[in-house]
Every structure is written in structure tokens, then in C-alpha cells.
């Protein structure tokens, strides 16, 4: 008998008392009832608690803000679906950081990603209550490696994509895409429970919330 048949047989035998399948009580909150302003405020509070840096700006201010955050960077990478307007200021800045574009047709190697200083991406959905940003690999976010290897992640969140609580956010997501849920920069508390921000993932996370 194959291991598969064997294991399924053992499990069926273990369940020969035919245990009842219970009804799932879903009395927990399905929505938060927060409006956009309240969602922004809560998300900022939660992200700052994780030691991420957060700015809330109008769409017109995004390019200058990104240029400011990339000052001093030698190079940065973007997914090919990112809004080109966001990068206008950094690209015209004297002594600007060199832009690398990652695409399915011309993906950067891991070594190339390791040599860039920063990455700029959009995001799919955010969760205010938990301070979480979800990337789903859409063209403005790119494949998972580009937001992982560079040490500085600049992530743009559209205010209309902020959900109050997790159930609201997950309802807006296709679970079969490659997903990354990010809640602050990487961290460890493995040594005497003292929290250290920044281990293997990007050590610096800047979030730009666009009203």
C-alpha cells in the first residue's frame, strides 16, 4: 500500500466514531466601521509602534518625498509596473540614485538585487488595526525577491486600500497569489527578549500613505 493510502486509511480508522462536524460560530468582527481618516490614523500609529517611518501626503507630494528618502542611495530597484510619475523627482535630482527596473522579461539576479540600496513598491491592501501591509505581486509591487533583498523598502499605500481589520483586508485579496504580509521592519527578540529591529529583511521601512 502506498504511504498515501496507508495514512488516509489510518486517519479514517481513527475517525470511526464519526465525530460531529461543528457549526463554526463567526461572532467575531467582520468589519471595523472605521472611516478613511480613522483608518489612516490607526495605521500610522501601529506602523510607528513597529519602528517604521510613516508619512501621510497628497498624491502630488509623493515624487519629492521619494526623492528625499532616496537621497544618498547609490541605486534603487522598482517593479516595471510602478507609477513612473512617482520617480520623476528622484530621476531628475542631481547626483540621483541609479534606477534599476525589474520585470518578468528581464529579472535582476539575486547578486544584482543585493547590490542596490533600496526598493520602491506599491501595495495591495493594508490593515490599520495590526499595522500590516500586504503585497500580492501585482505589477506595481513586483516579485517577492525585489522587496526582500535590498536593505531599504519604500512602500506606497493608497488610503483607499486601507482596511480597518484583518477580515476586511483578506476579503480583498486573492489567496493564490504569492503574498507577503509586512508589519514593520524585520525584527528579532531571540537574545534575552531584547527587540532588535532589522535582521535579514529590509532594516529600514518607509511607508508613504497617499490620501
Amino acid at each position: 500500500m502506498s504511504a498515501r493510502e496507508d495514512i488516509l486509511g489510518r486517519i479514517r480508522s481513527a475517525l470511526r466514531d464519526s465525530p460531529e462536524v461543528p457549526r463554526i460560530p463567526r461572532g467575531y468582527r467582520a468589519t471595523s466601521g472605521l472611516d478613511e481618516a480613522a483608518c489612516i490614523e490607526l495605521l500610522v500609529d501601529r506602523l510607528e509602534d513597529y519602528k517604521a517611518r510613516v508619512s501621510v501626503v497628497g498624491a502630488a507630494e509623493v515624487p519629492a518625498l521619494i526623492a528625499g528618502l532616496l537621497a544618498g542611495a547609490g541605486s534603487y530597484v522598482v517593479p516595471d509596473g510602478l507609477d513612473a510619475l512617482w520617480l520623476a523627482a528622484v530621476d531628475s535630482q542631481p547626483g540621483n540614485a541609479r534606477r534599476r527596473t525589474d520585470s518578468a522579461a528581464a529579472p535582476l539576479t539575486v547578486a544584482e538585487l543585493d547590490s542596490v540600496d533600496a526598493v520602491v513598491t506599491g501595495s495591495a491592501v493594508a490593515v490599520a488595526e495590526t499595522g500590516t501591509i500586504i503585497l500580492d505581486g501585482s505589477p506595481d509591487q513586483g516579485r517577492r525577491a525585489i522587496s526582500l533583498v535590498p536593505d531599504h523598502h519604500i512602500c506606497v499605500v493608497d488610503a483607499k486600500d486601507i482596511a480597518g481589520i484583518l477580515p476586511e483586508a483578506l476579503r480583498r485579496i486573492d489567496g493564490t497569489r504569492p503574498l507577503t504580509m509586512i508589519s514593520g521592519p524585520s525584527a528579532t527578540s531571540d537574545i534575552e527578549l531584547e527587540r532588535v529591529e532589522g535582521v535579514h529583511g529590509p532594516r529600514r521601512l518607509d511607508v508613504i500613505i497617499v490620501r
Partner: protein, 508 residues
């Protein structure tokens, strides 16, 4: 729901690192001598406990989430064969490959074979209880394959050739200076000027592992959840080492117990609220990765999943114990356990320590395996674990159940009636009639003689000796309560009141 039609089979128990090789009291005595361990553990468990309480109290619907979590897991167990088949179909349709492993040995052989097929001799690993349970690292080493743990705490433990002592913070028994010394001794090229600042040590680990991440061709991981309706796997982590392992290599091999399934995508909203708050006491862990088979152009292109039984079906066969399989490995029960707080994880022998380990290990291995029958007694039954558990596993009830399973299995083993059996028989004879009891009570003054002038009995004979190992028994009174009562109450006074006894003053 599936109806079982075949021949019922006997439970097949699990193998691997699931055993206490020394009985719990013995192992605990040894661990209790380690003052550093106890101080670190006390600090850790209390800190995490407080953080957990704070973030749990933020949620107005925590109890509703627990109720949902518990019911979802119960339905998973009841529908397990059907959900496994559904998961398999979805994961496979998206390019993933499923392997089934009956026990630790079979799982190890499958993983080693998959690694060998890639031609690689090195793999990076994400912290995984399942691979610890099957002893994968040791097996791979025998096969000439080096497995590098990449979680900081696991790295510390691996470099020191030690064992994890806590499922969430595996190196909690070591302080910063010890960790610095381990790095200096075991990490090639470590800076001799390394200080013992946690931030400096974390950066040393980053530098040490970075090249491995960027060049690794094969990664091995566990999984926290598997969604049957989409074929999706999830790994919850903090440092980014998980993302590195799940994203950069060409081949990803995940080892997961069959009980980790959730029926639907929607169920994730329950567990992603329960797990981080119960585990690290955070609103959300820094990183969670989800993948469904293979995605072209993003992440590993060879994606394998080893579905592991290793005694889980045996645990499932125990109707009173099966809910132990609901465990999501958050470690909340450990952090609130007064026994664990003092003994640490090593005393439990198995990969799974603390209250959950005390039930899960014997359920998976069978109560008679090695010293695992000592584990259900490693508890004061205070119930703190039940209150803390995000999926409401009634650990105290299962502990009591397993104690009775243990006693029954002992009875089967010995032909001669045990001292306990004789004692119980004697007690039932004595207690069945007041006359008999009265007769026995006449013997009480004898006990006073045995106690001697300090009025303490320090050692009882036979199995009762266990009781006096760590306590004294006060000498019995000169007469029994029953005979005192009889004497005091035989002559009620005129008003029908009892006369006060001589040595208790009138309180009125």
C-alpha cells in the same frame, strides 16, 4: 463527512524526537539546578505573558475568535481525509508536488532524496517544529548534507550543538555573553572584538547567513497553515529569514503535519488574529509568506510538500485526546505554566515541551513509549494553559485522561496486584462501613508512635513513599474526629444545645 467502512486498524505511533528518555521528575531535578536557566525563563515567560495580555485585551472579540478557532480545528479533525484530498488536488493543480510520510524515518528519506536529486549538499532551513520532531538535521548530516538553521535562536542552538528549550524563543536558556562566546567559538570569521550587545550579535548573524541565503539552491521549511480550498501554504515569522528561504532558492521542500489544514481562505482571518497575539504578544508578526504551488517568475520553481503522519493519526484515534491536534504551536500555554517556568523545555525530552507537550508527546508515541508516561503528571492541573490557549484545548482534562490511560496500561503490564491496587481494595473495605473504619481508627495512636517526639512522619513505606519524598506528614491525632464527635455529642444539654468542649473557648 466520511464514514469508515474498512477494518479498524490499531493506532500506529510516531517516532523521532518525541520521547522523554528520562522520567520527568528526574530530568526536572537536573534542570532545576541550572539557576541561569531558571532566571532567564522566569524573565522570558513573564515578559511574553504580560505582552500577550495587553494585546489580547485590545480585541473586543477575543473570545469569539477563540470560539471560532476551536470550532474550525474541530471540524478539520472530523473532516481530515476529505480536506487532505482537497488540499492535495489544489496544491498539485498549481504545480506543487505532494509526498506522504508515515513516520519520521520515511519523511527524512524523502527529504534527503529530494535534496540529492538537485545535486546540492547544502540547504538553508526555516525554523520548523516538524523537522525537529523527525530529527531531519541529524539525518541529513549522516547523509553528507549540511542543513543551516537561519532563525537567530535556532542558529545559536545549532552552533552550540544544543537543543531548543522553548518553541518560540529556543535559545532563551542562554544569556548574551554565552551567545557571544558561542559565536566567537563556532562562527567562522567572527570578529574577535564582538560585543555582547543583542543588536551587534544580530548583525553578526546577518553577516554570517547573508551569503548562504543569496547562494542557496534548496530550502527546507515547515508551515503554520495550509488552506484546503486553495492549496495555499503559510509561514509566519519575524526576522525575514523565512522570506529569504521561501523566495530565493530554486527548490523549496516543506514538511508539515497532516493536522495543519484549515478548510478555507476565510479561516485564515481567525488564525492570523489568534496566533501572533498569543505567541509573541504582537498585534502582528513582522512577516507572513503565503504561496500556492509554483508561481512562474516568482520564487522557487520546484515546490514540494511532505505530509507527515508520525503518530498524528494515533492521537486522532484517542477520542478524548484528539483535540491536542488543534494546537497552533503559539507557546502561550508554556509561558503561563508554573511547572514549565521552573523546569524549562529540556526536562520534557520531546520536541514539544510544556503543557501541550505533556499531552501531545504521549498521544503521538503511545503512553508506554520510553518515559513518556511521566509527562501527564508534569502538571499541577491549575488550568492556566486552558485559559491561555487560543484554540481552547482543554489540556488539564486531557492530562487527567492520559493519567488514567497510564494507570490502565500499568495494570495490564503487571500480573501481581500492585501496591496501589491492594491499597485501593483495603480502602474500599474500610470505607464501606462505619464499624470497619472505627476499628481501623483505633490504630491512630500507633502512627503517633511512628512520628516520634517531633510529631512528623518523614518517610512512608511502599508507594506512599513518593508522597513523603518532598513533604513531611504531621503525626496523626490521638483520636479520630469521628470518635471525638461521638464523645462530644452524646449528651445534649437541656435546651438541646451541645455543651462546649473543654479546650475550645466559648466564642460568644
Amino acid at each position: 463527512m466520511s464514514t469508515f467502512l474498512g477494518m479498524p486498524s490499531l493506532p500506529v505511533f510516531g517516532t523521532g524526537n518525541l520521547h522523554a528518555t528520562e522520567s520527568f521528575p528526574k530530568a526536572a531535578r537536573h534542570e532545576l539546578n541550572n539557576a541561569q536557566l531558571r532566571a532567564n525563563l522566569g524573565h522570558a515567560t513573564h515578559t511574553i505573558r504580560d505582552k500577550r495580555l495587553k494585546v489580547v485585551s485590545e480585541l473586543p472579540d477575543w473570545e469569539q475568535l477563540r470560539d471560532a478557532g476551536s470550532a474550525i480545528k474541530e471540524s478539520v479533525m472530523a473532516r481530515l481525509p476529505e480536506l487532505l484530498e482537497q488540499f492535495e488536488a489544489n496544491f498539485t493543480a498549481r504545480g506543487g508536488i505532494i509526498h506522504w510520510a508515515r513516520d519520521a524515518d520515511e519523511a527524512n528519506r524523502i527529504v534527503a532524496g529530494l535534496i540529492r536529486d538537485t545535486g546540492e549538499t547544502e540547504v538553508v532551513k526555516v525554523k520548523s517544529m516538524a523537522t525537529q520532531e523527525i530529527g531531519l538535521n541529524e539525518y541529513l548530516e549522516e547523509q553528507g548534507i549540511a542543513a543551516y538553521e537561519t532563525d537567530l535562536a535556532e542558529l545559536i542552538v545549532q552552533l552550540d550543538h544544543d537543543k531548543p528549550s522553548h518553541i518560540l524563543v529556543p535559545a532563551i536558556h542562554k544569556n548574551r555573553t554565552e551567545i557571544r562566546d558561542i559565536f566567537l567559538r563556532e562562527m567562522p570569521g567572527a570578529d574577535p572584538e564582538l560585543t555582547d550587545e543583542p543588536a551587534v550579535l544580530a548583525m553578526a548573524a546577518r553577516a554570517h547567513l547573508r551569503r548562504k541565503f543569496l547562494t542557496a539552491k534548496v530550502a527546507v521549511s515547515g508551515a503554520n497553515f495550509a488552506l484546503a480550498d486553495s492549496g495555499t501554504l503559510a509561514v509566519v515569522e519575524s526576522e525575514g529569514n523565512g522570506r529569504m528561504c521561501l523566495t530565493l532558492p530554486e527548490t523549496l521542500i516543506t514538511v508539515m503535519g497532516v493536522e495543519k489544514l484549515l478548510p478555507t481562505w476565510q479561516d485564515l482571518e481567525v488564525f492570523m488574529q489568534l496566533l501572533p497575539r498569543s505567541s509573541t504578544g504582537e498585534r502582528m508578526n513582522p512577516y507572513t509568506s503565503l504561496w500556492t504551488g509554483v508561481t512562474e517568475g516568482d520564487g522557487p520553481q520546484n515546490v514540494h510538500l511532505v505530509l507527515l503522519d508520525n503518530g498524528r493519526s494515533a492521537a486522532l484515534a484517542d477520542e478524548m485526546g484528539r483535540s491536542a491536534l488543534h494546537c497552533i504551536r503559539c507557546s502561550a500555554c508554556m509561558n503561563v505554566c508554573p511547572v514549565y517556568e521552573r523546569t524549562g523545555g529540556h526536562a520534557y525530552g520531546s520536541t514539544y515541551p510544556g503543557p501541550i507537550g505533556a499531552i501531545l508527546s504521549p498521544l503521538m508515541t503511545g503512553i508506554q513509549a520510553e518515559e513518556n508516561n511521566s509527562l501527564p503528571y508534569a502538571s499541577s492541573l491549575c488550568g492556566a494553559c486552558y485559559d491561555a490557549c487560543p484554540v481552547k484545548i482543554n489540556i488539564p482534562d486531557i492530562l487527567v485522561h492520559l493519567r488514567s490511560v497510564d494507570v490502565d496500561s500499568q495494570r495490564g503490564k503487571t500480573k501481581l496486584p500492585s501496591q496501589m491496587d491492594i491499597g485501593m481494595k483495603a480502602a474500599s473495605w474500610a470505607l464501606s462501613s462505619g464499624k470497619r473504619l472505627g476499628l481501623l481508627e483505633k490504630g491512630l495512636p500507633l502512627g503517633r508512635l511512628a512520628a516520634g517526639p517531633d510529631r512528623k512522619i518523614t518517610r512512608l513505606p511502599g508507594i506512599a513513599g513518593g508522597w513523603t519524598q518532598s513533604r513531611d506528614i504531621p503525626a496523626p491525632p490521638a483520636e479520630s474526629f469521628r470518635s471525638w464527635w461521638a464523645k462530644e455529642h452524646q449528651k445534649p444539654d437541656a435546651e438541646g444545645m451541645n455543651k462546649p468542649s473543654e479546650d475550645t473557648g466559648d466564642q460568644a
